[in-house]
Symmetry: C2
Subunit: 348 residues, 2 copies
């Protein structure tokens, strides 16, 4: 006999709508939920837990102890563990040394934490055959991200904010909920959560934006600033998505196109006749294909490649981050991922 | 005998480059320069004056007395007139009653001033056969505009900032110069200018952004904030331009497309299968064609039209600002500019 229809809280209904709209979870998915113990991830796991039966998926919890502020970290870890036990949810945990990693890789603590968390989730997901990773980012996070990218100098993609779904099965079911929606939901279901003291530390850029800049913009310029930034990111994301589809089509039809795993080439002179916006997108697309990501590739690099293509002089070349070399060969613009560091190549 | 080659100041060379890059002025053009008497417009007119011979165009000066703060206004008007006489430049002036206009049209003083100035320049340009209108907007104005549009809730087009050239022959040769470039140029050539007291009035949103928000962002977040915003607006403008070209092509190939001066229709069901970003752009394009501008058309209006098209129920209709009515008729989405106000239509 089928279970009687469950009557959900409005918050859960709204999250379920987001999950459906973006096709985030399918029946039989195994969803690994990243849970810090803070309000966002506790709301996320409570919400998904209530949807498991109706939407026919399973969940597990992953908690990374960052090894920062030991007392708090122990407390958070114990809290998440006991929550998992109480609700009989698969539980995965690990302790990292964020300080050591940051020092070794020359990263900020903020960034090191993000990378370690991501690597941990990926590794648990692979080892334990999860099909999705769910994270607790919400509307206010998205507004902050758009503003942060804008201030740092982002292009179109930066303004599209936090993607609701991403390659490698990362999903963000709370992306349309606000922080205050999340707090009231936790209140209603009487779910406690841990406060993260580092969220108040304005030495971190993101905190400074959340605690100082957004309140200032809200009070002095636009009371609806978070909605405004969220709407902008929606529009920009859809425009970007459309432009990416078109770019792929244009890329595939480039003259003398040759694509190999570590090398891409196409005719330089028809390329330089394309619209500047298209040139930029084609270059980013080609680099993405051989480099697998666009980290450390700036707008200035892209402009340099356009200049190289326009000059069209054989022998001239550009060295980009992560062993990417770009050069002109027999009238073609070539993108190559070198197998040895470019420093050594140059020394030959 | 040809005149000896003129050696220009770096500032003038840079402005000449902007004029060339955007094809702003052609030989035999008659350029009407909007001159308030402030630093930007004085630098603009001095710069263009020096380029008239080499680039073979003529210039005239237009000064609108806004009728605000009478003493200052008289002083500015006399200053611009005497400049015109000294350099033997055609001079056009008029006095407006900005307060009365603002009250009558229910506009802010800022906006009323902008409309009156624009109408005055257009009318002088037509009466005296000018082919271009040059305005003194610069990089810092563009950065402010991008930020202002962002805070107000702009889409892609708002983020592209102040267009260097616009329909009706409006050109902005200083758009790549900074305020400090402009001040040093005026210093070097020893050209005085009038200070506009209203530029310090932070009741005006633009002034508040210039005097408070930009300095705060520069000090606490990004010392290069103006460059960052200018670069963003360049990239967004080119993306927008490309997307507009594509939109026109897609529009022309719409099923059952019928275009009349006051009415546009096309098949609703193939339309709703397009990418959301394309739907938005097609709707804006159709409204622009019959309304001649997109003033007062918001993102919410565009979303309503998409919903109307998706519902596809005959008889349902939407009323948009400026007598624009949108409805479904025989499976077509129809855009119509009504000749009588929609209020009267509805009363029938």
């Amino acid at each position: 006999m089928a279970a009687p229809p469950t009557r959900f809280d409005d918050f859960i209904l709204s999250v379920r709508q987001t999950v459906t709209d973006f096709d985030m979870i399918r029946p039989k998915d195994r969803v690994l939920v990243g849970v810090s113990g803070g309000s966002d991830s506790m709301a996320l796991v409570q919400c998904l837990l209530r949807l498991t039966q109706e939407m026919a998926f399973g969940i597990g919890i992953a908690h990374l102890n960052h090894g920062l502020r030991p007392d708090d970290a122990q407390r958070d870890q114990a809290f998440v563990k006991s929550f998992s036990e109480k609700h009989r949810i698969e539980y995965h945990t690990q302790t990292a040394d964020t300080h050591a990693y940051a020092a070794r890789e020359k990263r900020s603590i903020e960034e090191a934490g993000r990378i370690l968390r991501h690597d941990f989730l990926e590794s648990v997901s692979q080892t334990h055959s999860y099909s999705k990773i769910a994270l607790g980012h919400h509307r206010d996070d998205n507004a902050e991200q758009v503003l942060m990218n804008l201030l740092r100098g982002a292009g179109i993609t930066g303004l599209s904010g936090i993607p609701p779904i991403r390659e490698h099965g990362i999903i963000r079911p709370l992306i349309r909920q606000s922080k205050s929606d999340i707090r009231s939901f936790l209140d209603r279901i009487d779910q406690p959560f841990m406060e993260d003291a580092s969220n108040q530390d304005t030495r971190f850029l993101r905190n400074k934006i959340r605690l100082q800049l957004i309140p200032l913009l809200r009070d002095a310029y636009n009371p609806e600033i978070c909605n405004t930034l969220n709407r902008l990111s929606d529009v920009v994301r859809q425009e970007d998505e459309w432009a990416n589809t078109l770019t792929e089509q244009i890329f595939e039809s480039l003259d003398n196109l040759k694509v190999e795993p570590d090398q891409i080439r196409f005719g330089a002179s028809p390329f330089i006749k394309l619209h500047d916006a298209v040139k930029r997108r084609i270059i980013r697309h080609a680099i993405l294909k051989i480099k697998r990501n666009l980290k450390r590739i700036t707008l200035a690099h892209v402009e340099d490649v356009i200049a190289l293509a326009a000059g069209g002089v054989g022998g001239k070349s550009l060295d980009l981050p992560d062993r990417i070399r770009i050069f002109i060969d027999k009238g073609c613009l070539c993108f190559k991922k070198e197998s040895v560091p470019l420093r050594q190549l140059n020394r030959k």
